[in-house]
Structure formats: C-alpha cells, structure tokens
Subunit: 736 residues, 2 copies
C-alpha cells in the first residue's frame, strides 16, 4: 500500500531532505543568502590554497620520506641488535646459533601474526594490487588506515629479521595508502580530492613517491612506477610524480645528513668508479652476456616463485595443516634460511654474516677482489672480508651466494608478511655481475684495451650492470637502469647498463610474465591481460565478447512506477539512462540517490499535503451536504500518517494535515500514490552524469586500444553494462 | 542520362576492376591455388623476420646514428674552415671581418634557398609538426624523401655557419622522416608496416631516436620525446624507444671511437666534478634561485621568439618586401649576429670566437674562473681564455654573453632554415648557471660547509643546473634533467638539477606555452590546446562545442541513388554509415572507394550486359513480329556504349554486346540505370570500418580526457563529424 519506505527510508534522513526540490534549486538556481555567500567564499579560498595538488604532493613527499627514514632506522637497529647478540655469544656456537636463528623467527612470526590479525591485505608487495587499483578496479580495504599500520610495522619487522626481502614494493603500497588517507583528510577542505579520477592520478604519483623515497631515486621512481603500474600514461601527470618523488627523496636524504650519517646529499650506494675510462668497447660482449643470462635468470625466478606457491597450494595435506597453524609456515621458512646463512656453518661459504645492504656495498666496490683468480691475492678491507674463505676460492663463494640466495629469495617472498622482491633480486644480480667482472679481471689482468695505457677492468661496474639487468628482467622494466644510476650516483656505465637491461627484458618477456603479473594471476586479481608484444591473438577480442547484456536501465520517458521497480530490484549505485527502449541511445547515468530523491519528491510529504488539502476542500464541500462518517478508523489513519512522516523533518502543516488526514482513508492515499506513480518522470532537476561515449558492439579491442582498454577496465568496475546497439559506460567513480 | 562517369570514371582503371564482385570474393573466400599458397607462406616467413619491429628499430637507429655523425662531422669541418679563414687573415681586420661575416651569410642563405626550393616543410625545428602528426593529423609532405634531403643538407649548412642554432629539434624530424621512409621501404615485405597506427608508434620511437643520437642520451631522448610529443603514452611502446635510442646512441659514440675522437664510449660533454662532496645542502637556495630565474627566462624567450615573428608579420611593408626577396631576411639576420660576435669587435666581450660546443665545454669546466671575483686570478686554460678580457671582469663577459645570446638565439630561430632552439637555450642556461656559480665561489671562497674540511664551490655544477633549468623552462619538460646527466656523464648533482628544473617548469608553465606550442599557434597547425595544469577553464568544453553538425552520412537502408548523390556532392575519403536517419546510431565508416565499387557493381558492365542480353531475348521476340527500325541512330548508340566501356578492360562479350546494344536505345539504358539506382544498397560485401565509439553531445571534455582528447584530435582529422544524438568518429587512417 505504501511505497518507498523499504526502499529509501533508511538513508532519507541524511541524503534526501523532504524539500529536496527546493534544495536542489537552491544549489543550482537561487542566490543564497549573504552569510552563505561568505562561507562559500571562504571555503573557495581554502580550496584554492589547500586544495591545490602541489600542497598535497609536498605533504605526501614529506610524510613518506619520514616513514621511509624511520623504517630504515628501525631496521638498522634490529639488524644491529642481532649482530650484537650473535657477537656477544661467540664462546658457545650452539648458543650463537640459537640467537642467530631465534631472532629472525620471532620477528617474522610476529610480523606475519600482526599483519594477519590487523589487515591481511597488507601481505606481500602491494604492487600487483596497486596495478589493479590504478586500472579502476576498487579493491576494498586495500587503502585503509589499518592496512597502513599493518604494512609499516609488518615491513619493519620483516626486514629487521635479515631475511632476503625488499622494501620497495611495500613502499609503493605504503605511499598509495598514505596518499589515499591524506586525500581523505584533505577532502575535508574540498577541492580536487572530491574528483575521484584525480585521486587515481594522485595514487599514480604516490607510487612514484614510494620508489623515490625508498631508493632516493626520483627519476627512476617515476619511470619504474609508470612501467609497473600503468598501461596508458597521461604525460600531463608526469610533473606530479617528479615533484613529489624529488621532494620525498630530498627530505629522505636530508634526514640522513641531519642524523650525521652523511656529510651531504649523495647517492644511497655511492660508487667511485673511474670516470675517464669507465669501460672498453671490447668489454661490451661480456655485458651483453650478463644481460642475456639475467633475462633467463629473471624468468627462472618468476617461475620458481610461482612454483613454490602452487606447490604449497596443491599439496592439500600441507595446505590444510598450514591453514590451521598460519604462523608455522613463516617460522619454518625463516628457520631454514637463517640456519643456512649461519656464519660459522654454511654461511661462511656465502658471506652469510653480511646484511643485504652490506653485501650490496661490497659487491659494488670498485676494487678487484681476485687479481689473478687466486684467493690469496684478495684485497680484504672491512666487510669485503666476509667474501674471503681460507679454503675456498672467491668465485666459489660468489656462485654459492648466487645459487643459495636465488632460491632463498624466491622462497622468502612467499612468506605472508609485507615484503618485496626487488632488493633481493637486485643483490643477486649484483653478485652475478661481480662474478662475471671478477672472471674478466682474472682473464685480462691488464685490461682489454690495446693502446699502450693499461686500464684494468672494474668488476664493480659489472656488478652494477648485473643488478640492473636482473631486476629489470624480473620486473619487466627498463627503468631499473635509471634506478641503478641514481642509487650509485654514477652514470658512466650507461651504455652497458642499457644494453644489458634491454637484452634481459627481451629474453625475460618472451619466457615469463613479470613478477607482478605472475602474482596477479596467482591471486586472481580482476585484471585484463595486456595487448602487448607477442599477444596478437588478443587483438581479436571485441567489445561484444566481454560485455554483459542483461543491464538495468531507465528511459527518458518512463513513469515513476518504472523508477520504483528498478530501484526495488537492483542494487547498482548508478543506473543507466537511455533515450527510449527502442533506440537505446545512452544519455548518461543517474545516481541511485538522485532517483530516490525524484521518487520521494513525487510521493513525499509536501505533495501529499497539497493533495490532502485539495481533497479536504472537496471533502468539505461534500461534508456540507453529507454528515461526517467513519470516525472509528481515525486511529488507524493516524498511524498510517506517522509511517509517512520523515524523521527530523519540520512539521510544516501539522495542524492542518492532522485535521485533514482524518478525512482520508488508506484506500484514497493508495489510490493517489498509484496515480502519482503512473505520471511521467521529470528529469529536469536531476543531476545526470552524461555518458562519455558509446562503444559499438562489434568494435575490435585492437583498433582503439587506448580508448577501449580504459573503457574495458571501467566496464569491469561497472558490472559491464551493455544496451542493444550501443554500450553504456559510466565514469571512473566507485560503482559498487 | 548516364550515371557514374564523372564520378568514378577516372580512377576506375586502377581501383575498381569490372569484375570487382568476384575479385572481392576471391580475396575473402576462395582458397587460392598451390603456388599462391607457397608464395604466401614465403611472404609470411619474410614478414615474421623482416616485419618484426626490432629489425626496423635497429635499422632506424643505425641510419640515424650515421646521419647524426656525418652531420656533426660536416659541421665541424665548416666551423674549422671559418676559423682557418679568420685566423689566416689576421693581418687585416677588415678582411678578417669580411671573412668572418661572409662565410655564415653565404651558408645560411644557401640553406634557406635550398630548403625553400626543395621542400619548404623542412624549415624550422619540426617538433611542433611531429607533435601534430603524432596526434593523428596528416600533414602532407612532411614525411617525404625531399623533405629529408632538404632538412639534412639545410641543417648542416645552417649549423656550419656558427649561428646560435640547435640540431635537436630537426633531428627529431629527421628521425621521423627516416622512420617513415624506412617503413615505406619495409612495407614491401608486408608485416606491421601496413597497420597505420603501428606506424604512429614507430614515429614516436623515431622521435626518441632523434634526441638519443643527437646527444648520445638514450634515456633522456625517450623521456624528452614523450614529454614533447605525446599527451597519452602507451607504456607498451616504451621499449621501442629505449631499444632504438640506445642502439643509435651506441653506434653514434662508437663512430666517434672509430674516428679516434675518443678512446672509449663516454658522454658527449664529459664533466669531472668532485664525486665525494658534489654540493653542500646550504647551496640549495642558490640552485632554487637558478630554477626560478630560468623559469622567467624561459617564458621570456618564448615570448620574445613569438614577438619577433608577429612583428615581422604585422609590418606589412617589411613583410611584403621580405616575401619578395625571401633570402634577404636570413642574410640580414646572419649579418647582424655575426657582426656582433666578431671577435676583434664586440665579440671580445662575449667570448664571440667560441663555437657553441666550445662555449659549452668551457662553461661546464670544473675549475673556478674567478677565485676572488677579480679577473686577474682567472685560471686560463685553452678555450677558457676566450672568457678573459684584460679590461673587463669575467662577470661582465658572462652577463653580456647571456644577454646578447638570448635575443640572438630568439632571433636566429626565426630564420627560415632547418634549425632548433634547444642547444642555444641550453648554452645560455649553462652560462647563467656559471654566472651564479662564479658569484657563489667569489662570495664563499672557502665553500659554505661549516665542518672543518674545505669543500670549495664547483661553478661547473651550477652551469649544469642552469642548462637543465632553462632548457626545461623553454620546452616545458622535466626530462632535460636526464639529458643533462647523460650529456655530462655525471649524476652527482641530481637533486639540485631536479629542484631547479621543477621550479623552472612551474614558473614557465604558468606564464607562457612551451616553445613548441607557441610555434604550433604561430603556424596555426591543427592542434587542440591541452587540458593541463592551470587550464581549468577548458574543462567546460563539451563535445557539442567543437563538433560540426553538418555531416554527410549514408543510412543502412539507403538506395543507390542516395549513395550516388553523396558521392557526387562530398569529397570525404570516408563516409559515415548510420543505422537510420531517425536513430542516427553510428555503425561505422565506409571508404569512398568501397562505395564507388558498390555503385559500379550495380551499374557496371557485367550487370548491364546481363540486362542487355535479357532485353535482347525479349527484343528478338518482338523483332520476329515487327521488322527492324531506327538503324540510323546506331552510330550514336555505339558511341554511347563506348562511353560506358572502361579502359584496359578485357572485352568479354564484345561480339554480343555490340550486336545487342544496337538494339537498345539511350533511353532504355537510362531507364534501366534509374531503376537500378532506386534499389536498396546491399552492404554485405562491403568493408565497413566499425565505429570505435560514440561521443554524446553534452559530454564534458574534462570528464574523460584520455578518451576524449584522442577522439577530439581524430575529429579534427575527419572533418568533425557529428550526428544528432551521437558523434561519429573514424579511425586514425588518413582521411583527407
């Protein structure tokens, strides 16, 4: 009998005032009163200042630099504590082993447990999720404060354990979280943060900040984040990433200077290679070999990583056991890895006592370790000593390091803690490059150059090339080259690095997906394959192949009853508006709340009151003829009336209505409502979001990739709406 | 009376064979014979090898490296020749002046004349045109062999004259020309070169190659070309640019090694700054000042350049005079500039005898010129001596150099020869940076650093920062930072450079368009403004604001007469096909040739012959009753018949037709044709290019910039087609 209660009663209070028609016209047409003008102006001024994106970007850069620095600081303390414990117990090897092993196991278990309890979304690198989010898919809970806390604390503990894990991927996620939270906070001031697709641009900038403040590599950060997260990139947003990442890297390094770690702003892993003759032309084949081998190595790493995950999933017995005791798997893996790296044990053959940072510094050293390929002539200084073993050649140490770290890293990145794989892969690549470089130095002790002057080979340069090539192969990016230059502060090896990275990419891309795409597949995230190099078969996908044909829509000439039915049956936040059911031309989309407002206007209190008044006049005339009847059902009528009243509404005509409503029976109201519902909807005051464009059914996705791909991903986000000849598309807003 | 002759008669010969219906079915349906299969397979194999884009990219890189090196070599010879002439005449200042002035005037005049005669499109930088072409607009004659020759030779002469001109912009154009010619050549093998939008991707890669092989800066080249030419960039194509630019830069530098210019592959303008303490934190404000000042300077440069062009255009007397004597303007400008740089004259106060390359090398020198700000303590080595003047302080020389070169460069780039403005601006920026650096060194002779150790200030580092900032401001790009690192081979100043470049961009972008956009506006190239930073007012542009409403279209149920009328009245290469005139739903586009083929099928010889045969049978029956009549108009009929015959066509039924046609009069044929024209068109065998999507009239261009912008540019290329509720769009192919 009564319409609308079940439908919009619950959110009527805050969203649709009863006087919505006048409210709308207030906003759109009527000049507001003077104090309103004042506050609006003030707000506008605030928006024009606070709402500007560069303030947002500066804040983001500042916060992320602080986070990065604090995380680094905590990790350093954790690692120092482990070294101190291990060093203090050198009288007893067993106790030493216990200390060496217990410490990481406890930290990793805590990290896994903490993340599991607080926000399981924080597990892993976060780049695959960001890649998905930046395509317009809304992954719930991925950008919340809880996730932020879980990710930061979980990451600090995980890296503090000394496992072969990286902070780069998680930092991309943390920066995005930070941006999302910051934009939520700043949306209090209005401004651009209200526009959702600008938020996505902000997220893209945040990804750049993540890499930038992690490695103090602003340019590499921007490029890496573009390559990893985007398919199509708006050059217009370029500056955002650069601005935020540069600011962030600057603050990050200034903090190091402030903490007296550094004298001035320099690169994170500064190298001191020869500038005047960095490498000989004849060394280029060796660099190319590093590139190709890294390509195969990178593909193998991705494959191995996936294999481990799939193996554990398939073995149902293991899986069930691990699902019950969720913290057992991290603990076991950590135990295994830390046992193998125990310095007095097997670790002595693979420089086990070095932390990741220390190994990288030693690997990038510009001195040659094995001048004649014999361990005796090793040049031992500081941490480099770890690579020395009295019985074993330095080449054996390097090979063991590479092989062990390779599977260890692939295994460690499957632990359910916030962790990335970039840094471990980077170190392995550097070790591989060093191996080749040392071999070259051993084979050509006087350098390759033929003209008089002796330019000995710089194995550190090979390490740089190897690091860039392997990390490029695993992530399928070219910008690792730039990251390497910024990390080492030297660009002298640009051509070898570029050649190796390109070759590594060519090999790796033809063998395996990138690590992030592989994780996307494993996690089954909603993500369409790219129409890339060697994927020509996908060019035949047409719009009709992926669109869903059963879509709710309203027509321009529909009546309120249709509106009501659509609202009753569907749950979409936005509905398609078409010209007519025959032409099916998309005009735009209307938000559910707007439609509810239309309905409530039609059936709402003011109009009902008006009707009641009219009726009352007619009734009075009738009453003047016929004496009053049916006062016994007045109570019932009153309760009916109450059901129609909206909470928090000013009782305009209470006196009259209570008097008059008594004169109306239920049946009459229902009749009136039925009549109202049959009227045609007037969309004039309705905010219609105009349709961006319409995709014709038979369009090939190949033809207009740029447009279609964005569209396709939007369709994914919007329940794939399709109408007969054309295809409806919404905007980028959250539609679920 | 007779239809179609005027319409498609002229291109019928080569385009539409009379048996087009069967020809079409041959291609689309019938299995070809065995030898055909063989050749097709061979061709496919060739395509799979030769058609692969990496071969194309390697060839492109190789050719461009060779071109770049040869151009550089010729320029060096030209400049040496001028120096030799000038040096040999040092007994007589007047003769010296004549030699100094005549040489560039002759070269520039030749360059201007040669370009004017061979290909006027080769004038200028070429980046604005490439920007337009990459948006899908077809600029005729911009990518032809003639233009290539004119550009290369014109550029060599222009730069050989020693005027403040650059080779970077023209090299972007030359690389694109090279790519277009190469792809034309390789399309003989089929493969990807047949797909037009892949060609655009190749052009984008070519732009990267252009910058890459000009400065031996592959990464900077890729980024610069993206920033300068693209609005939306497909990350998928990233590798193409990197691959080609790296290969090109590699070959370019290998050629230098081969020519014994260098010992190994190093940076083009290698610097030797201190690595361990490149700059102090307290120097950062000075770098920021350079950035902001460069921003204003860059905007001023763009404004000045535009002002000069507009001044010359507006002064009608000058304009008319110059239009008549086209070579006078270049000659006059060259005379003015070379007179002012004459070393014994005013040139002595502005290091006039140094070439652009030499000045840059001296400006980037890591030694401090003015240790106490006094000219006496100047450290003179080699070319740096040019900056010394016995009477004048080095600061005055620098200021004069900056001021004079500033307007000279702005003036010189308006000369109608192939030339860019990047390098001159780069040098001015370096000089400005040097000025600030030398001032800092004079103010803080012991460096700023407070802790014990003295780190003196490196003015060369300031020069690097200034160069990046000013060129970034003029071009509105951030990637000049990367170019600077690659050019100097040092990345130690990354943070100052990034800060200065970002500040310079922020200032310049808010004041003026980029130099390339400014030229686009001056030249009135078909290009829409970008919806960028600070252009929010353009967010209100709706599709309906820019679309043209009067558009020719054909409907699915139209008859041949409509087709005929459309073909007669319009000149579009492609026509829109809509469902019906009422719904106006866009189905796709059909090429004019296809429609002509449809019409010719309907009215063509085979069908006519059939009809004639049928008529003949009927006629014979009639003739058996009535005796023959009207043999006098047989001659006329025959001539009529000839008009229908198509040249080069095999006379299938000549015998019959000549016999039978005599039995038909003009009127009957006309009648038949009229009947044929009233039939409904059958689009079944027609190749319809399906519509990518439809833009709804009231869509804001802000909302879906990515999609809309591409669309908008496409509309520009396709005569802005619009139908009532929806907007038709074609694909990227050439539509004119």
């Amino acid at each position: 009998l009564t319409y609308g209660h079940e439908l919009w009663g619950h959110d009527r209070k805050d969203k649709i005032p009863d006087t919505s028609a006048s409210a709308v016209s207030d906003v759109w047409c009527c000049p507001p009163a003077f104090p309103v003008v004042c506050t609006v102006r003030c707000q506008k001024f605030l928006i024009s200042r606070v709402g500007e994106d560069w303030i947002f970007l500066i804040l983001l850069g500042l916060v992320m630099a602080l986070v990065s620095w604090v995380v680094d600081f905590c990790i350093a303390i954790c690692l120092q504590a482990q070294k101190w414990m291990y060093g203090g117990l050198d009288s007893n090897v067993f106790l030493q082993y216990l200390a060496w092993v217990t410490y990481p196991v406890v930290l990793i278990t805590f990290s896994a447990g903490f993340t599991q309890i607080l926000a399981p979304q924080a597990v892993g690198s976060g780049i695959p999720e960001m890649k998905t989010i930046l395509r317009g898919v809304v992954l719930k809970e991925y950008l919340t404060f809880k996730t932020f806390v879980a990710k930061v604390i979980g990451l600090t503990c995980a890296l503090g354990s000394g496992m072969p894990l990286g902070k780069e991927g998680p930092f991309v996620h943390i920066a995005s979280l930070c941006a999302a939270l910051l934009s939520k906070f700043m949306s209090l001031f209005g401004g651009i943060y209200e526009v959702s697709h600008l938020n996505i641009e902000m997220l893209a900038a945040a990804c750049a900040v993540g890499v930038g403040c992690c490695f103090a590599a602003p340019i590499g950060g921007v490029l890496f984040s573009i390559e990893v997260t985007s398919t199509f990139f708006a050059v217009r947003n370029y500056w955002r990433g650069f601005f935020a990442a540069t600011f962030s890297a600057f603050i990050f390094r200034v903090l190091a200077v402030w903490n007296k770690d550094e004298e001035t702003i320099t690169a994170l892993f500064k190298t001191r290679f020869r500038l005047d003759f960095p490498f000989d032309l004849q060394e280029l084949p060796a660099f190319a070999v590093i590139g190709i081998a890294s390509g195969f190595g990178g593909a193998l790493f991705v494959y191995l990583n996936r294999l481990i995950v799939q193996f554990i999933r398939k073995q149902k017995a293991i899986n069930r056991f691990l699902m019950k005791k969720r913290l057992l798997y991290p603990a076991l893996v950590t135990l295994l890895i830390s046992t193998l790296t125990f310095p007095p044990g097997f670790g002595q053959f693979m420089a086990g006592k070095l932390t990741q940072k220390e190994s990288l510094v030693t690997l990038l050293d510009n001195r040659t370790w094995a001048k004649q390929g014999i361990a005796e002539e090793f040049d031992y200084i500081g941490n480099s000593q770890a690579w020395k073993h009295p019985q074993v050649n330095v080449f054996v140490t390097l090979v063991l390091f590479i092989v062990m770290k390779f599977w260890m890293s692939a295994l460690a990145t499957t632990i359910p803690v916030p962790c990335g794989a970039f840094m471990p892969v980077f170190v392995i690549g550097a070790a591989f490059g060093r191996l080749v470089g040392e071999s070259m130095a051993a084979w050509f002790p006087d350098g390759i150059h033929s003209d008089g002057t002796i330019y000995s080979i710089v194995p550190g340069g090979y390490a740089v090339v190897g690091a860039a090539a392997l990390s490029g192969a695993v992530t399928h990016t070219v910008s690792t080259a730039v990251i390497v230059f910024e990390l080492t502060g030297q660009i002298s090896h640009i051509l070898p690095v570029m050649i190796a990275v390109i070759l590594a990419n060519a090999v790796a891309q033809s063998l395996q997906p990138s690590l992030y795409d592989s994780i996307i597949r494993i996690k089954k995230l909603p993500y369409l394959p790219e129409l890339g190099w060697g994927h020509h078969e996908k060019y035949n996908i047409r719009v009709e192949d992926i669109m869903v044909r059963d879509v709710r829509y309203i027509t321009l000439n529909c009546c309120y009853r249709d509106l009501h039915n659509v609202l009753l049956t569907g749950h979409l936040k936005t509905l398609a508006l078409v010209e007519s059911a025959e032409s099916m031309i998309l005009l735009g989309s209307i938000e559910r709340a707007q439609l509810q407002s239309l309905l409530s206007q039609q059936l709402g209190r003011p109009r009902r009151m008006e009707y009641i008044k009219e009726r009352a006049v007619a009734e009075k005339k009738r009453l003047s003829v016929v004496s009053s009847l049916g006062s016994e059902d007045g109570g019932h009528r009153a309760s009916q009336e109450v059901r129609f009243q909206v909470r928090g509404q000013r009782p305009f005509f209470v006196g009259e209505s209570l008097v008059n409503s008594e004169n109306l029976c239920d049946l009459q109201i229902a009749e009136w409502e039925e009549k109202q519902l049959d009227e045609q909807v007037n969309f004039n005051n309705c905010k219609i979001d105009p349709a961006p464009f319409q995709l014709v059914e038979r369009t090939s996705l190949h033809k207009h990739e740029c447009e279609c791909l964005t569209v396709v991903f939007k369709m994914h986000t919007w329940h794939e709406i399709n109408l007969r000849p054309t295809l409806l598309l919404g905007n980028r807003q959250e539609h679920y």
